[in-house]
Symmetry: C2
Subunit: 208 residues, 2 copies
DNA sequence: GAACCTCTCCATCGAAGGGTGTAGCAGGTC
DNA sequence: GACCTGCTACACCCTTCGATGGAGAGGTTC
């Protein structure tokens, strides 16, 4: 019984490379590859699969999709950042595996096999983090606050955030103050560093 | 005559995948793959090659190496960011090709063939940027301005930067305004994204 | 129903940031 | 000497941000 995989990554070179690498493995069939979230539904409808390999760089679009995705197939998240936080978040949302892109194909295969058997696989470091978070229960941001963080940390001004989210600038300020309180941060600059380092936002700068 | 390639990327999955993908191509031989700058010298000494595929994510370590590398083999830079700026910089430093990771293998092959023939290959958008910068003579940041950028982008306020560099806050503002002008940026938030994405400042992971 | 949380909104005010122009001085080059 | 670049500094003015305190609507929990 071969494991049926689907690859979701917006980098064609990585996607195609991974596919060609996986096809060399026994008991693995890559049944599809898509470059964006909108194509995933169609692909899943066309060809059911056992495991979805999901690029976490796309978390902005897909993090929230993990819960529903995980009902249709086991999700293994591929991440490029060293931050355990975003990986832990993905796992909490229902991902069944977490594999760093710097790992070798052998490690990915181990994870795939484990997940195919119904287990959850993650690197030891993340495992520690995952266990640790059960204790102190740090004050989590609300979903609205998280939205504000994404907007602000990606460079938007308060007024722009307000327009984007269809709320008043006053509300944006209120949220922002609450966020600063919760995370013990000084201003939007520190918030940006926090957001980037913990994988909440990706750095992608425009062509000047 | 096969083209001899060497792959430099710290993500094993990408590296191995790309290798397996390239080995399917005619006239291509992957003679080596390394995960870090320090291993590149040894690899080049052991097995000479025609083209080096270099991950630009590693630019912090390797950008400065491009001039010397390009004497030993043609360098094609693989980049994950959409920013033309860093690509243009790499080309100015001697890279012979620039390929985005979201491109398909066919595009990479086109670039490899072009570079193997002695040409320089880059995406049309970057080509425009490259040409444009030839005119106004892309104004580089001065060393002082770069210092200001590092301070500001790492979260310091103008007053703190002034203290740090032992200059007045007015001077910091002057520098900052000049920097905004040169880089066509709006404010310190955009500057932060620019600095991080182009490797001027690093963001350490905090794993909460 | 009371307590609590979340999201929404407002006013006010001081702090910080940013735009524009101007200018002195040191170091080089033509 | 004339010219240019880079670093320094200031004034003036306006915008944006952040802190504080208050408040109502809707929801959940106990």
């Amino acid at each position: 019984m071969a494991v049926r995989l689907m690859i979701v990554d917006d980098h064609a070179l990585f996607r195609q490379g991974l596919k060609s690498l996986l096809m060399l493995q026994p008991n693995i069939v890559v049944v599809g590859e898509v470059d964006r979230a909108s194509a995933l539904d169609d692909a899943l409808a066309a060809t059911p699969c056992d495991i979805i390999l999901l690029d976490l760089q796309m978390e902005r679009w897909l993090m929230d999709e993990i819960p529903s995705l995980s009902k249709r197939a086991a999700v293994i998240v591929l991440t490029a950042t060293e931050s355990a936080a975003s990986g832990v978040k993905a796992l909490r949302l229902g991902a069944r595996g977490l594999v760093h892109k710097r790992f070798a194909i052998e490690t990915l295969m181990t994870a795939i096999e484990a997940v195919a058997e119904g287990l959850v696989w993650m690197p030891p470091i993340v495992q520690a983090e995952f266990a640790a978070e059960g204790g102190p229960a740090a004050r989590q941001l609300t979903t609205r606050e998280a939205e504000i963080v994404r907007c602000v940390a990606s460079g938007m001004r308060n007024g722009e955030v307000a327009t984007q989210l269809s709320i008043s600038e006053s509300t944006v300020k209120t949220h922002l103050n609450n966020i600063f309180q919760k995370l013990a941060l000084r201003d939007r600059m520190e918030l940006t560093h926090y957001a980037i380092s913990s994988g909440l936002v990706a750095v992608q700068n425009r062509d000047r």
